[in-house]
């Protein structure tokens, strides 16, 4: 080959490196999914709102005006006020901070621990698999909320402990999903081929198997954020999670329960906030799965 042709060829290589960026490819596919994009916009917005809550919220979320209690939505209080005269919109805005933080943190912890345990169990099999998975089975045989309450009783009340409790009780499910996916993926010939070019077990698990099981993990992870948000709400409702007077959607829902019939906006708006957030995470998860999996590419 002539020198110029060689130079042209290596230039073409460099061109390709730029045009075939996997991140761009992923982004291009995600953008096509309207619902996922809407969810992403919503969640980014929600995150910004949570970060800048003190500047955005029209009222203080904790100090209310007793004489303004249980007001219906008006131009003054867009979403009305609660039994202590606190502005519900402001409380929802501040509540987003806790819900998002707890949801993301709990899932991040549960997912990473669960993924490592599940992939070790699935890849090596045999006795290691048995020990890990039987332990997970024991944890799964308790109702998760009950187990979370037990952990809260042991750890004490508070948001941090709620995160730990929720991540512990949701972790076995991730381990199970990852193990199942690893079991099926490791039978593929390309895993054998990866071994045949001299890869270590760790490289095979994390480089060759993990990217192929990432789709179900992401979907479960995003669904898991919603579960974590709901469980935080449940713990708050039971008085174990977020402590009053801090604003948290679940706690608000629980507190508003007694006024449900004469002031339905007390439960309606926190409920809507939870539903929208949970739904956005679910839709985004579906979109991510489609976009991350090259096998689904048309």
């Amino acid at each position: 080959m002539s020198e110029t042709a060689k130079a042209a060829a290596s230039e073409a290589v460099l061109d390709n490196i730029e045009t075939y960026s996997p991140v761009r490819e992923f982004w291009r596919r995600l953008r096509k999914n309207k619902l996922a994009m809407a969810s992403l916009v919503f969640l980014v917005g929600l995150t910004l709102v949570a970060i800048f809550a003190p500047y955005i919220a029209p009222y203080d979320p904790i100090d209310g005006v007793m004489s303004d209690s249980l007001q219906k939505p008006s131009s003054e209080h867009w979403l009305g006020t609660d039994e202590l005269g606190r502005d519900i919109l402001s409380r929802i805005i501040f509540g987003a901070r806790i819900s998002l933080r707890v949801g993301l943190l709990a899932v991040a912890i549960a997912l990473s621990v669960g993924t490592v345990l599940g992939s070790i169990a699935g890849y090596f099999g045999g006795r290691i698999d048995n020990i890990i998975m039987r332990f997970m089975d024991v944890m799964l045989s308790f109702p998760s909320l009950l187990l979370a309450i037990a952990f809260m009783a042991a750890l004490g009340k508070g948001v941090e402990n709620a995160v730990i409790a929720i991540s512990i009780v949701t972790m076995p499910e991730y381990a199970r999903i990852v193990r199942g996916s690893v079991l099926s993926v490791k039978e593929n010939e390309y895993v054998q081929a990866a071994r045949a070019i001299g890869n270590k077990d760790a490289a095979i698990i994390f480089k060759h198997i993990m990217p192929n099981v990432i789709a179900p993990i992401i979907v479960r992870g995003t669904l898991g954020i919603s579960t974590a948000i709901l469980e935080t709400a449940a713990l708050g409702f039971l008085g174990l999670g977020v402590q009053p007077p801090d604003a948290e959607w679940g706690t608000m829902l629980g507190a508003g329960r007694s006024y449900m019939f004469n002031a339905p906006h007390l439960v309606m708006f926190p409920g809507i906030a939870i539903t929208l957030t949970v739904m956005a995470f679910n839709l985004l998860g579906d979109g991510l799965r489609d976009a991350l999996d090259p096998r689904l590419k048309q």
Binding site: N16, E189, A196, I197, P211
Partner: protein, 326 residues
């Protein structure tokens, strides 16, 4: 005399299942010279793939285990090497091509990355150099515009193209031994010929020795210098390809050759060997082929014949061959 690259001696790989022990490979011996092509021929379940996985030490364990024998590669017993040393050999000195090009490439990586991986693992090159070498390997395998193709995903390629990628991947570190496990079985006939031709071409270029696992006698005739015929986990005949086709000694080899349809003869029914491969867990006491053998005598059912050399380089295990097993 060309020197020996690989010497497999009395290799035994057994699978320990709940139902019992399956002796998938039971005392296989053969050798391979540098730069030579040896075909390992046999039906499904005759132990040819397990033999090749044993050489790579990639037997799924549990339930499989190499229970005996030795595999000398460049004078070094692979079965005695620690796993770490073995990893350095895999993909570097010995590499492998698999049967299914559709599933033997990782769907989430671009093919260039997968070829580059072996280079990064063994040659201590950085990502960019490895990628350039990968493109070069793709060019050698005859893939058009390799600098583009290297950045494509496996699903964007046809079966023949993927097998070329597999070959590029296997040969990227210039191994001394290439094990090809039915590399053309999953491809259609026109592509088969191209792939075989490519393998021969690269073999000459790199001086690689090839173990060609196949059940296709046409591939044997096309590619191999010598052939080992396997039946029920044992080598039953070993010969040069010319000898094997001209004067097959073992009745099983004769049966295999007779099963090839011939263009010049018109027959109503194709020849086939009667019966099926016996269950490896309950092998007959005598010769494993005896129940299907048209020439079997009573001694064939009583005792198992050994693989013996009947003339230089020519081995057979059959009571009926003069000098064989005698």
């Amino acid at each position: 005399m060309s020197d020996v690259l690989l010497k497999v001696d009395n290799l035994k790989t057994h699978f320990f299942l709940d139902e019992g022990v399956v002796p998938a490979v039971d005392g296989v011996s053969f050798h391979l010279n540098r730069g030579e092509t040896l075909a390992v021929v046999g039906e499904s379940g005759s132990g040819k793939s397990i033999t090749s996985l044993s050489i790579m030490r990639l037997i799924p364990s549990p339930p499989g285990r190499i229970v005996g024998g030795s595999i000398y590669f460049n004078g070094q017993d692979l079965l005695k090497l620690p796993e770490k040393e073995m990893r350095r050999i895999r993909g570097n000195k010995i590499s492998m091509i698999f049967q299914e090009p559709m599933t033997s490439l990782n769907p989430v990586y671009r093919v260039g990355d997968q070829i580059a991986e072996a280079l990064i693992n063994h040659q201590g090159v950085n990502k960019k150099e490895a990628m350039e070498k990968a493109v070069e390997m793709l060019r050698l395998t005859g893939i058009p515009s390799p600098e583009k193709r290297a950045y494509e995903f496996p699903h964007q390629m046809s079966g023949g193209m993927r097998q070329r990628v597999m070959i590029a991947m296997a040969l990227s570190c210039r191994p001394e031994l290439l094990i090809a496990d039915e590399p053309t079985t999953a491809l259609d006939v026109t592509i088969q010929a191209q792939i075989l031709e490519l393998m021969q071409e690269l073999q000459e270029k790199f001086g690689t020795a090839i173990i060609m696992i196949t059940h296709d006698l046409a591939v044997v005739a096309e590619m191999a210098d010598r052939a080992a015929v396997m039946y029920c986990g044992k080598v039953v005949e070993e010969a040069t390809v010319e000898e094997l086709f001209e004067k097959p000694l073992h009745p099983y080899t004769r049966g295999l050759l007779a099963s090839i349809p011939r263009v010049e003869e018109e027959v109503d029914k194709l020849y086939m060997i009667e019966g099926t491969v016996p269950n490896l867990m309950h092998l007959p006491a005598g010769c494993a082929f005896a129940p299907r053998c048209p020439e079997a005598e009573s001694r064939c059912h009583r005792a198992r014949p050994e693989l013996v050399e009947v003339s230089p380089g020519r081995k057979v295990s059959c009571w009926l061959v003069e000098g064989g097993a005698g």
